[in-house]
Symmetry: C2
Subunit: 339 residues, 2 copies
């Protein structure tokens, strides 16, 4: 059989055993006319992976192979594929399908499609019973719209985390007007936040990282935009942050903390008419723009590499849980594990 109908990867079986990765074969979705088969070469380790397998985001479809910052090689393209060529180095991010027909999909808002939202892992393909499996595996099979050519200037191991964390930071920056003359802040300096600073600096005149004691006093009522990348809301003094916003400034959250949320009244927002929002990934167009910006400006993730496998994945999750990562792990060495 020339092409794989199965992939081999590392699955978790339950939140109680989320650091135990089990090497298994699993079925890929049926190959469609617009699909691309990708042999994986690297995959970033996203906070979502940990939230998902440890149960922090609620019920999931186990057993599950996570990982959605995928870089690999297109080894087969469907007969109607025009966006990707066989042999090309490509990436896949956190989303792998949407309806493609609705108003949102037609307006570069496919990550907000209300009709059909397929995550790269953990979503069931309609009428197949097959649950999508992620990039801690040998192969993924993905519709061409969700497969992105990688500019040659970008190194596989360093660009991988851009496919989710990078785009998650980039999209709200460009959608909310980060650019010359704007004062942009990044809260939460993890995987997403470090890209946020990188892209804010590449897009806007300046940026400020909110780490020093008493820093807020000089910045009251002055920020046009803050991207909140914090992955936890414990002890988070939202009112203090909102006091930094200029009139009608925007506080956009991209992290999805596991905690209960925060009590918000109109009274909290009225002093400066601030807008609170959230952002979900980014469009294909934004992904391509971001990769081009990164290639043009020499931007790359700050990455620590770990060998893909039971041990490496366990280490990644244990250390990420402790916050012991600056600022992103990329699982590499796929060729040593998958023949």
């Amino acid at each position: 059989m020339p092409y794989p109908e199965e992939a081999e990867g590392f699955q978790v079986d339950s939140p109680d055993t989320y650091t135990n990765f089990n090497r298994r074969f699993f079925k890929l979705k049926p190959f469609g006319d617009y699909d691309v088969d990708i042999k994986i070469e690297a995959c970033g380790v996203c906070g979502s992976d940990l939230h998902t397998i440890s149960g922090g985001w609620g019920d999931q479809k186990f057993p599950l192979c996570v990982g959605h910052e995928i870089i690999g090689r297109a080894i087969r393209v469907g007969p109607k594929v025009t966006l990707i060529q066989e042999g090309q180095r490509v990436g896949v991010g956190a989303q792998s399908y949407s309806c493609g027909e609705c108003k949102q999909c037609k307006n570069d808002n496919e990550t907000y499609c209300p009709v059909l939202m397929m995550d790269t892992y953990g979503s069931e393909w309609p009428e197949t019973g097959i649950v999508s499996q992620g990039g801690y595996s040998s192969h993924v099979r993905t519709h061409e719209h969700w497969v992105f050519p990688i500019p040659e200037q970008l190194e596989t191991n360093l660009v991988a985390p851009m496919l989710c964390a990078g785009l998650t930071a980039y999209s709200p920056l460009v959608r909310n007007g980060a650019g010359p003359g704007k004062k942009v802040g990044i809260v939460g300096l993890g995987g997403i936040g470090h890209f946020g600073i990188m892209f804010a600096k590449a897009l806007a005149d300046g940026y400020i990282a909110t780490a020093e004691e008493g820093w807020e006093k000089d910045h009251l009522c002055s920020f046009d935009l803050i991207i909140n990348c914090a992955s936890s809301s414990q002890g988070f003094d939202l009112a203090k942050y909102l006091s930094l916003m200029d009139v009608h400034g925007r506080w956009i959250s991209v992290g999805l903390p596991e905690e209960d949320g925060q009590v918000i009244k109109a009274q909290n927002l009225i002093a400066n008419g601030v807008l609170i929002g959230a952002s979900h990934l980014g469009s294909r167009r934004e992904m391509l723009d971001m990769l081009k910006l990164a290639a043009d400006k020499g931007l790359r993730g700050w990455v620590e590499e770990l060998q893909i496998g039971e041990e490496g994945l366990k280490e990644a999750m244990v250390r990420m849980k402790k916050g012991d990562v600056h600022y992103r792990f990329t699982m590499t060495g796929y060729d040593k594990v998958f023949a």
Copy 2:
């Protein structure tokens, strides 16, 4: 003495006795070069008055005369006043001063001034010990920036509620792009909301009032803007309303409910990337634009008149507390009470 240094009005002494209005004289602020003395002819009854005197918004400076939808006659103008002429019919709204010098004041954001915010009632004038008193009284003394000429087409009793409720609805509509082709919703059909519908209809192609059972099903993910005018958040299903918003649509609250607020997580906002905000009154420029729009299009409040006095004010508060008003009271008959 040709000009009053005192005004006579109806004050409340405590939240426990908020339906008892006591007729008294009280001192006006010292007359400044830019001040205008106004003999009051009518005053709308705003939800803020009730929230304030009944203690729902916390501690206030009692004794207090409320009322901030004021129409009257300019009977004296300071030597540097250029915006108002003696004898002119004018209005005063909920705010009566700001610093005038900061970035916000210079950018038509004076209602968001972080330096000095003087409400028409209940704020202490710096270095005087004098607490501002509202429009259930014979006179107010107000800086010209906060005094608005009333177009002759607009009837005193019907335009009065526009000075706060009208502007509160108008400003977030124009600041958030209500106009041809936009789908605008108004939630909470009270004093502010009925102006919201009026102005939304005057500005945009259409509007939808959210009162009928099951109405949301036809409108999922479709609104560009909803102005939330609800004065209470009890039993309020925010998630249902947010599901109506188009991607990056805006949910703007102008009511300030007394309840604790609602728990919001980024997860609630991410499906459509909706922005949640609040809006505070509106600028002088917006006030003038609104009055012109009302004059040009023949818009006016739906008003029930009540005679100013102890009885009339008590009736206004008791009935407003029960929601028994469609859609605004205006206190009138000032000439019968104040010589």
